[in-house]
């Protein structure tokens, strides 16, 4: 390879794997992939319903039972009985984690980050519980309820959008007050 070609390849690798992609390109890809997912699996992209199943599988593994829970009557109960490898959303979530790992490795940006302050731990735990609980009672997270909900022209997606703005406003006030 001549030095010019090597240089050009270096620039292409950098553009493709290291530099951040523009927001519009990410948006287009997400829209396209969601259509693909909808046409192949029959349901649009979602993330957090599978997390509820993961927790339920763990709970069952240690001897718990969720069979009389309202949430696990009907379709969710069937998904739970079918197991992890028959649950498209669980596989998709696994794909997101592995894909993110691959992307950060290809960019040579993998790093174990230090926890800087105990307040970060408290914020992460409290935030995680609130988001998990909120995602269940709102019929989805910012993927299932907002992204796929609005794309399906479902009213719940737009109600969700209104309240996520209010929540983000409140959350940013708390963040400035306690974490900055």
């Amino acid at each position: 390879m001549s030095s010019e070609t090597r240089e050009a390849t270096g620039i292409n690798y950098r553009k493709l794997f290291k530099d951040p992609w523009p927001y519009w390109l990410g948006g287009l890809l997400l829209g396209f992939l969601n259509i693909l997912m909808f046409t192949t699996t029959g349901s649009p992209w979602g993330v957090t319903t599978a997390f509820a199943h993961w927790a339920a599988w763990i709970y069952q593994a240690v001897g718990g039972s969720v069979s009389n829970w309202a949430f696990y009557q009907g379709a969710n109960g069937k998904a739970l009985a079918a197991g992890f490898w028959s649950n498209a959303q669980s596989i998709q979530n696994l794909g997101i984690i592995l894909g993110a790992l691959l992307a950060t490795l290809l960019a040579s940006q993998f790093k174990f980050k230090k926890i800087k302050h105990w307040r970060q731990v408290v914020a992460a735990l409290v935030g995680g519980v609130l988001m998990g609980y909120g995602a269940r009672i709102a019929f989805g997270c910012n993927i299932g309820a907002f992204f796929s909900g609005t794309a399906s022209m479902s009213l719940h997606g737009w109600v969700y959008t209104l309240f996520i703005f209010l929540g983000a406003y409140l959350g940013s006030k708390l963040l400035v007050r306690y974490l900055l």
């Binding site: 950060t104 040579s108 940006q109 900055l180």
Partner: protein
């Protein structure tokens, strides 16, 4: 022409950006702010913000997943 270093390692969005904005206000014209971050979003949104303010910006990858963002307060 002093150089101020702002350690934002281990901090996620939007904290590095908010800290940089706050710190920048305390700098004298001609000073440089160096934001140290290991958060890939901050490597995009901090330079984006600084360029929008009209500051001179330079981004250096100092290690795997670590960056130093140089912002010169030129006005």
């Amino acid at each position: 022409m002093a150089e101020h270093r702002l350690d934002c390692y281990g901090e996620a969005c939007p904290i590095p950006l908010l800290k940089a904005e706050k710190k920048m206000k305390t700098l004298a014209v001609g000073d440089t702010l160096v934001v140290l971050t290991d958060h890939s979003c901050a490597m995009k949104n901090v330079p984006d913000w600084a360029r929008k303010q009209g500051y001179d910006v330079d981004l250096e990858e100092t290690g795997d997943g670590e960056w130093e963002i140089y912002i010169i307060k030129n006005h």
